[in-house]
């Protein structure tokens, strides 16, 4: 090999084993310029290796370097972290912008359209239900969830239940319709009440 080695070839020679690239080695042995460049590369590698090894051996030095890296990291060392940061920032900004737009258009989180339309009906019917309740037609016991008839006797005892509730084995609250005496609703099942 007569031509001088370029930087890439010189680095390849440096990382190769002794028995490899004999032509390049022969050239470096003869060419003073290439030999000088090769020696400079070897020296740089020694400096780098020594610096890294010394830094790793000293906790204080390493902490110092690492602290500095944390400051510089977003700029150069961790492109993936920078991308992740941009992505997270863009997502947060987009979410904030969407919420602001919805608020500007009149959306309110406390009232969904269904709830907003249902509330007036409740307000209208509540006094009527209260009046009916007072008239003694139907009385609901919210504690036991048992419906009473006009006579005031509990449905479980009289068999005149409008709705009778019981708790199944799994603890779920179930209901028996009037006249349904089959299965779990049978009077002998012991579930009523």
């Amino acid at each position: 090999m007569n031509a001088c080695l370029n930087e890439k070839e010189l680095t390849r020679l440096f990382v190769s084993d002794a028995a490899e690239m004999p032509a390049a080695r022969a050239h470096v042995a003869e060419c003073a310029a290439c030999a000088s460049r090769y020696e400079e590369m070897a020296r740089d590698a020694r400096i780098i290796a020594g610096t890294i090894a010394s830094a790793a051996a000293s906790r204080a030095t390493l902490q110092e370097y690492t602290a500095k890296r944390a400051v510089d990291g977003w700029r150069s060392d961790r492109p993936y972290a920078r991308v992740a940061g941009w992505f997270a920032g863009a997502t947060a900004f987009g979410a904030a912008a969407a919420i602001a737009t919805m608020l500007a258009l009149g959306w309110r989180p406390a009232r969904s359209p269904q709830m907003a339309s249902a509330l007036p009906d409740v307000a209208k019917t509540a006094p009527v239900a209260y009046a009916q309740d007072q008239a003694g037609r139907i009385t609901f016991d919210p504690i036991s969830a048992i419906a009473y008839d006009e006579g005031g006797s509990a449905a479980a005892g009289s068999g005149d239940a409008i709705f009778t509730s019981y708790s199944g084995d799994d603890g779920n609250l179930l209901f028996c319709a009037p006249g349904d005496d089959s299965g779990m609703c049978a009077p002998t099942a012991g579930n009523r009440g």
Partner: protein, 189 residues
Amino acid sequence: MERTATKPSIESEIESGQPGGGAPPELDEIYRQHHQRIVRLCRMMLSDADEGDEAAQEVFVRMLAQRRSGVEPAQWGAWLTRVAINACHDRRRSGWWKWWRRDGRELVDSDLTTYRDAEEEAITHEQGAAIWRGFSALSPRQREVFVLRQIEGWPTREVGAALNLTDQAVKLHLFRAVRRLREILRSER
């Protein structure tokens, strides 16, 4: 035994083994002989002081377990190095999120013996920091290959065997690492 500042190579450790079946060395002696090197190796592999120290602790815990198992390695130095490499691999695989952690423990000045030479003394603090940052920014494979080949002085074949890489892959990683680190060194001059 006093701490030594020399850089033990894998070959010298193998040669210093006891193939003749002599009395196994005391754990304390093994620890003192290899602790500095293993800690440094783990710190370099993981490019993090805290992570490296924890990995090194794991290595010596495994050393205790190995001694209790009754199976004595032929060369403790080589065995510890392999276990350290595997421990660093495991730690990196299982704890990649720890890369985000940047609040180290309180500084404890437990500096290990270094082997600075005259050339390295010429490196300024800023240059050293830049080199370390560049080293940390290398891929894990490039870091491992650079450490084992250039700092620990292992031959290519052994590096490949330890990292489960072909010889060509080892050279490629080393090639890229050397080029990148030289670029950084030049830019800092």
